[in-house]
């Protein structure tokens, strides 16, 4: 009964948030003179097979991005810089892979490691500034995002070659490509072969947080820094490690696409994944399964919004409103539920204390 109540409360928040976000989106549509019914008809239609594949692909990438953000969030470290870390890492990785220092899949594995290192290095700048100079990581990672954009554009111009409208790096040797997995015969797109990378990262994240000393220290620091310090945690070291780790995971974001579809880094690289990852992490409460759900919801919304313009005459931009409102509502809802739960707990304690029975069992 107790667990049921807990689970119900935990689910109540996201469901409530989705409903409220739906209402607000409809209101915005009405205000802009669009037809909400047409909007919902398009959004809630069962996706075509092609779209299903796209949703899985997009979700796997968002999931990695969400994990990267969540590592920091779990210890109250706000790595807003996933976007920049992902860009730098993907560029460095694409360049490295194209050099073909190693044969076949060895090259792929080495490239993935290089991407993680590059992402970690870029995040490391913010970590160093934080622990040595006390610069807030929020500001520094945002600045590093902007710097990453210019820096990568400059380097791309140096090493890339022109291909039509865009500049791209050399192509990764074919022996290292990871072929897509065909889910449906009638779908033109395949699922990323590296989708398993996201799954692995999720499992790794869960094990690291729940089964290791590092994970314990990380969560402890997030809950109460002073308590963590008192129990011997070196907070500065934790900041550096978790920031590096976060950057390393951010480095993975570009890999499924690099080895599965694009095979090079071009100026048309998908932007905004880093920021969406932050939202996804918040939506999933920084929990590995929650983030997965968040990533799927975000990917679903984005993919389903694509035909809005054609089918309903509504700008697909509206979906960004929905996504943002979902995030804001969900964090508010979690907070409300937390307060309500605290109240319930306090009441339970009070009742147990007043009751004549054995009061030692109360542990709240």
């Amino acid at each position: 009964m107790k667990t049921l109540q807990r689970a119900g409360l935990a689910l109540a928040a996201p469901v409530l948030a989705l409903v409220v976000a739906g209402i607000i989106t409809s209101l915005v549509l009405v205000a802009a003179g669009d037809d909400p019914a047409a909007f919902w008809e398009t959004m809630l239609a069962w996706p075509e097979n092609r779209s299903l594949v796209n949703i899985i692909n997009e979700a796997s990438v968002l999931y990695l991005s969400g994990l990267a953000a969540a590592i920091g969030f779990r210890m109250n470290l706000f790595n807003i810089g996933v976007e920049g870390q992902y860009r730098v890492a993907t560029f460095v990785a694409a360049y490295f892979a194209a050099q073909a220092f190693l044969p076949g899949y060895l090259n792929t594995v080495a490239t993935i490691l290089v991407a993680m290192l590059a992402g970690a290095a870029w995040a490391g700048i913010a970590a160093l500034l934080r622990v040595t100079r006390g610069v807030s990581e929020v500001i520094s990672t945002i600045m590093l995002n902007a710097i990453a954009v210019s820096l990568v554009a400059y380097l791309l111009r140096k090493v890339g070659s022109r291909e039509g409208q865009t500049i791209v790096t050399d192509t990764v040797p074919q022996s290292g490509w990871i072929p897509g997995i065909s889910l449906f015969r009638d779908s033109v797109t395949d699922m990323y072969g590296l989708v398993f990378l996201a799954v692995l990262a999720g499992i790794g994240f869960s094990v690291l947080l729940n089964r290791t000393r590092f994970g314990f220290d990380l969560r402890a620091t997030g809950h109460s820094e002073s308590a963590a310090v008192a129990s011997g945690v070196d907070v500065k070291r934790m900041v550096i490690y978790s920031m590096l780790l976060s950057g390393a995971v951010a480095g993975l974001i570009g890999m499924p696409n690099l080895f599965g579809v694009s095979h090079n880094y071009g100026s048309t690289i998908q932007t905004g994944i880093g920021f969406a990852g932050i939202a996804v992490a918040l939506l999933g409460r920084n929990h590995p399964l929650g983030i997965a759900a968040g990533a799927l919801i975000f990917a679903y919304l984005s993919e389903q919004a694509n035909p809005l313009g054609i089918l309903a005459g509504i700008s697909p931009e509206i979906i960004a409103v929905t996504q943002g409102v979902v995030v804001l509502c969900v964090v508010i809802a979690y907070e409300v539920v937390r307060r309500y739960r605290n109240k319930l707990e306090q009441r339970a304690v009070a009742e147990a204390l007043e009751a004549p029975g054995p009061s030692k069992e109360v542990t709240a």
Binding site: R133, M143, S315, A320, V321, T322, G324
Partner: protein
């Protein structure tokens, strides 16, 4: 009624005469350094009135965003959502200016920004959501709302499109008749120091946008309101020690709510400045992270109006330098920066801080080598100048700064310890 939490009374101490005197020395050194560099490198644009005017125009939106941050953080709420409120401001300015003229446009931008601010206040103050989390969410929402509404509002208007408004009227400018011509001719002479000062004066007396004046009034007005009135004292007490303020009868929720809403309005006006003065209409993605830079300027300015104005001017100047003959100007600035870093290295060595000295010497030396081996800076690097400057400045300044004691902390009524 007086609130006398120890921190806030410390913050009440007037800036001493020695401090304001020092600012003038810094300014003089800066002007002399720029002027010398101009003569030495021939990069005439680094002190031209064109660059300086562009610097002011680039600085004001940053300063207004920073001022928004100041209001919010002085009341204890970190506002990373400034960027989003600024975006809402650009949209409001675009829509209302097109239909009702620039002044209603400014007001509309403030209202749009204030809506974002009120949302942030609702989430953080009423519901106790983490401030950064709420700010990030507001940025996402604002970006979505602006691009969606822009398409709905501006498509089909003459000169407008799904991502931009029609070309809009500029706010009126004022010039002092005799002075503006005189300073201009003096500037053209290219004399050491004199021409540079003339250019500086020219910015003030010629083509000064009324919006700039409004912004300056807001900045100095904020300084007076927050540091010289009971209202300001109470507001700041909410950021220093909300539970102490509560025990003295201050309605902390209300003050925080007012401050954060005001914060949004100011950021929105910064957006209006961007849309109407810095360019000639609304465009998607116009803010380009200036809300964040404003926050950095405020931190650099030690949570004070004059400080944040100084910070904004530095960022505005680097931004302007890159836009006007960017390669050459930024190249010249690189020389100043390198020499300054080498000077810092010597000074640190004298003080005995060997590590800092070595680091400064290393970076300064690298900069100088870069300067000597090139004639210009590639466009991509000039583009990142403001952001690199922000990082550098924060890294150098951050340890002497003191933020409001309860900044960013959750507060719930009746939970005073």
């Amino acid at each position: 009624m007086t609130v006398s939490a120890p921190e806030s009374s410390a913050a009440l101490v007037k800036p001493t005469a020695a401090r304001s005197y020092r600012i003038w020395i810094y300014l003089a050194v800066l002007v002399i350094a720029l002027s010398t560099t101009r003569i030495f490198t021939g990069a005439d644009d680094i002190t031209s009135s064109g660059t300086l005017r562009a610097a002011v125009i680039a600085a004001i939106p940053i300063a207004l965003a920073g001022l928004g941050g100041l209001w919010s953080e002085r009341a204890g709420v970190v506002n990373i959502g400034l960027e989003g409120m600024m975006i809402l401001g650009t949209l409001g300015a675009g829509y209302f200016t097109y239909h009702y003229g620039v002044w209603v446009g400014l007001l509309g931008a403030a209202v749009f920004g204030a809506v974002g601010g009120a949302l942030h206040a609702l989430a953080t103050v009423t519901f106790g959501v983490d401030h950064i989390v709420s700010g990030v969410a507001i940025n996402i929402i604002a970006l979505g709302v602006a691009s969606f509404l822009a398409e709905a509002l501006f498509t089909g208007l003459p000169g407008g499109g799904p991502t931009q408004s029609p070309s809009l009227d500029r706010p009126p400018t004022i010039s002092v008749p005799g002075l503006s011509g005189w300073t201009e001719s003096l500037e053209d002479k290219g004399w050491f120091l004199v021409s540079d000062l003339a250019a500086l004066l020219n910015v003030v007396v010629s083509q000064l946008s009324l919006f700039t004046l409004v912004a300056l009034v807001l900045i100095f007005g904020t300084g007076w309101l927050l540091w010289r009135t009971p209202f300001g004292l109470r507001l700041r007490s909410c950021g220093e020690s909300p539970s102490a303020a509560e025990t003295l009868g201050v309605n902390v929720y209300r003050y925080k709510f007012v401050a954060v809403t005001m914060s949004g309005a100011l950021a929105g006006m910064g957006g209006a400045f961007l849309a109407l003065v810095a360019s000639s209409g609304y465009q998607n993605g116009q803010t380009g992270g200036r809300g964040y830079i404003g926050l950095a300027a405020m931190i650099f300015g030690n949570w004070r109006p004059t400080g944040l104005l100084t910070g904004s001017l530095i960022f505005g100047y680097t931004d302007a330098a890159r836009l006007r003959s960017g390669g050459e100007s930024v190249h010249a600035l690189l020389l100043i920066l390198s020499v300054a870093l080498l000077a810092i290295a010597v000074w640190q060595l004298v003080r005995g801080a060997r590590l800092a000295a070595v680091l400064a010497a290393l970076v300064g030396g690298l900069g100088l080598t870069w300067y000597l081996r090139t004639d210009t800076i590639p466009g991509d690097f000039t583009q990142m100048t403001p952001y690199v400057m922000t990082l550098l400045v924060l890294a150098l300044a951050s340890q002497q700064l003191r933020m409001p004691a309860a900044d960013g902390q959750r507060y719930r009524r009746g939970e005073a310890g």
